[in-house]
């Protein structure tokens, strides 16, 4: 329907408004770059973070983890007598922008190495860039493990994995979960690489344990309604709902599962809902859920206590931390240690320096970068969400933990 002009009210000049909009749009669209002041000749690390867009909720802990570590390194005198300069680039949760920003950091900012990206899709987008430029990428997120099909996003000698993969995050607890709750799994995940490959690994182990998968469902991003999924769950009567939805979809699904009165009838095991998402769910909806990760804010390791003290002193008492933020923290420290060990800032030397490197100040305990496939060896925790929790400090109670999980070898041409 069109509306024709009849009145002659005073009018803002159209040009003024449009140019105002262009400026606003440019300001919003422009990459945010933080340049901490530093002495001459710093070592530059480009950090790719989802500060805006769909993964905004994870972006904060993601970039802060790295920032805190850089601050600690510089306070201790830097590396090889040079400070580290972190150059933050926001890729707005857009894989196209991952490529654009990575190239910009490498060509214009001339960074020495890269850290970050969040989802597997983001990392897979950055893979070809770091391969072509022959630069290191430090990747912080829990992910699906390395399978050759996804090269160069994985199985790439230039990418180092600081987050746990399924044989670390899921396998250690499967026997216990199957024994305590039952053998029938209903798998629901978002429709992309991480949930699909994670479920592939999980099914492999489940088969070994004599269990079965009653259904496997993949949901497109930003799906608001789950009634048909809930109906299928009621019909198939699984013992465990194995959950790998991400972002707002996980919140929408679980709100509706709870509202349908089903959250008490089924055991739900999530490999996605860390502190940030569980906070978004609230205590009623999340109570009783099982969650597994390499790091939780509630773990009692002395490293974690000291780490959180420093973190909260810098970002406030309510600031959230999670496995990704800790992955970024460890990546920064271990990257710096590798450069120190190598004695120079050069890709091949940093790669050699990172391999078999041990970091005993990691918030989750001692961690080690495995040389064979560039995969971090970390502890693993199975937690249960407490009834009536009030904050991240009492959100999770430990069910089971393994101090250090050696993952299965990556399915790549090894060694990397």
């Amino acid at each position: 329907m069109s509306v024709r002009k009849t009145d002659s009210l005073t009018r803002l000049s159209r040009r003024a408004v449009l140019s105002g909009m262009v400026v606003t749009a440019a300001a919003i669209g422009a990459p945010r770059i933080i340049r901490p002041a530093s002495a001459a000749d710093p070592i530059k690390i480009g950090v790719l973070s989802p500060v805006t867009g769909a993964w905004t909720v994870y972006g904060q802990a993601h970039s802060r983890g790295f920032e805190l570590a850089v601050e600690e390194i510089n306070a201790a005198g830097g590396v090889l007598g040079r400070p580290i300069q972190m150059i933050l680039a926001d890729y707005q949760t857009d894989q196209r922008l991952v490529v654009e920003q990575a190239n910009r950091l490498l060509r214009q900012e001339k960074v020495d190495l890269l850290a970050g990206t969040f989802s597997s899709a983001d990392r897979n987008a950055a893979g070809p860039v770091v391969k072509a430029a022959d630069k290191i990428l430090l990747y912080p997120t829990w992910y699906e493990g390395q399978i050759k099909d996804y090269y160069p996003g994985v199985c790439n000698p230039n990418i180092f994995m600081f987050g746990p993969e399924p044989t670390q995050q899921v396998w250690p607890f499967m026997e216990k979960m199957v024994k305590d709750h039952g053998k029938k799994f209903y798998m629901i995940g978002s429709d992309y690489a991480w949930p699909r490959v994670t479920n592939l690994f999980t099914k492999e182990k489940l088969q070994e344990l004599g269990g079965e998968t009653v259904a496997e469902v993949y949901i497109p991003f930003n799906t608001p309604q789950y009634e048909s999924v809930l109906r299928e769950i009621r019909e198939k009567k699984p013992d465990i709902i194995f959950h790998s939805l991400t972002g707002s979809d996980t919140v929408n699904f679980r709100q509706q599962l709870h509202a349908a009165g089903m959250s008490k009838d089924f055991t739900l095991w999530t490999v996605d809902d860390e502190e940030v998402v569980t906070s978004g769910l609230g205590p009623e909806v999340s109570a009783g859920t099982y969650v597994s990760f390499d790091y939780f804010m509630t773990i009692s390791h002395p490293n974690n206590k000291a780490f959180l003290e420093r973190y909260k002193a810098k970002y406030g008492p309510d600031a959230l931390m999670n496995t990704v933020g800790v992955g970024m923290y460890n990546a920064a420290h271990m990257g710096a240690m590798a450069i120190a060990k190598a004695g120079k800032v050069e890709t091949a030397a940093i790669r050699e320096g990172l391999k078999e490197l041990t970091f005993d100040k990691a918030p989750q305990g001692t961690v080690k970068m495995r040389g064979l496939d560039n995969q971090i060896v970390v502890p693993s925790y199975l937690m249960r969400v407490r009834e009536g929790w009030t904050s991240v400090n009492d959100m999770f109670e430990e069910v089971m933990s393994v101090p250090s999980v050696e993952p299965k070898d990556a399915r790549c041409d090894l060694p990397l």
Partner: protein, 284 residues
């Protein structure tokens, strides 16, 4: 039997909730022709205001009402400062309302932060019908939705105010010549649409994740609802459009899976538009 009852109940509830979420858009787009790309941001704003207010100890129902009023006020201000100068240029309003979305989203991030927020459901649990448990809160939202949509339609078709609005839609010049204050009417309709979006955002807050982009999920669906039902068809159009976009998915998912059902729904939507480009309830 269980399946029949559950599909029936789900379909009705989804249709009503979606109709409510789309209603603000149906009003602004349908009555005054502004393609309001800021509709999603208005929903989001309603949800955040409700969250903020419940965090500060205000009970849920007053929180939702205050939020709706606040979003209505934001809409009024936006209309007064910018939109009213562009009623004769629909494409420009599309850009301006999109800018409203961008700016509002960034302001939400600055003011409320980027973490997920949640509003605890004021009515927890489900109504047990022996064979099927119906989510209690969703049922309430559905009931509110149908009452408000029907109430608005009643005002629209049965009152003097409704006649004025319809006259204004039919022919602006003539209505204005007959002594209607067009500028004020447009302002009221725009603010009312924003109020409705805020109300819907506040009411659905306990059912969905509250994040700066939550409104986006509903923006595209809302546009489909309005266009399929027919622009300006507030009651029948909104309800039918919501059924076609929301309810149908649940029915179709019975015969396939959720993903195929979602694709099928949008395919059907496109088919409907091919043969009824003016919408199902708009006469040629």
């Amino acid at each position: 039997m269980e399946t029949v009852v559950s599909v029936f109940a789900d379909t009705i509830l989804i249709t009503l909730v979606l109709a409510f979420a789309a209603f603000g858009l149906a009003i602004i787009y349908g009555l005054i022709g502004v393609i309001n790309m800021g509709h999603g941001a208005m929903l989001t704003l309603g949800a955040y205001f409700t969250w903020w207010s419940t965090q500060h100890g205000v009970p849920f129902v007053p929180s939702v009402l205050l939020s709706a009023i606040a979003v209505g006020a934001v809409g009024l201000a936006f209309e007064h400062i910018i939109i009213r100068h562009f009623y004769n240029r629909p494409f420009d309003t599309l850009l301006l309302t999109w800018a409203f979305f961008l700016v509002t989203t960034e302001v939400i991030k600055i003011v409320f932060g980027t973490d997920f927020r949640n509003v605890p459901s004021p009515v927890d649990g489900a109504i047990d019908l022996e064979i099927y448990r119906v989510p209690a809160y969703k049922t309430i939202v559905g009931a509110v939705s149908i009452s408000i949509i029907a109430g608005t339609a009643l005002v629209f078709f049965k009152t003097a105010l409704g006649i004025k609005i319809r006259a204004m839609i039919q022919n602006r010049e003539v209505a204005s010549l007959l002594g209607l204050n067009i500028a004020v009417m447009y302002k009221l309709v725009f603010a009312f649409g924003a109020f409705m979006a805020g109300l819907a955002g506040g009411l659905i807050a306990p059912m969905y994740s509250i994040d700066p982009y939550m409104g986006n999920t509903f923006l595209v669906r809302s546009f489909f609802v309005v266009i399929i039902g027919g622009v300006g068809q507030l009651l029948a159009g909104t309800l039918f459009g919501s059924f076609a976009i929301g309810g149908l998915e649940t029915v179709l998912a019975l015969f396939s899976d959720q993903v195929i059902a979602q694709i099928a729904v949008f395919f059907i939507a496109v088919l409907i538009l091919r043969f009824r480009p003016q919408g199902v309830f708009t006469g040629r």
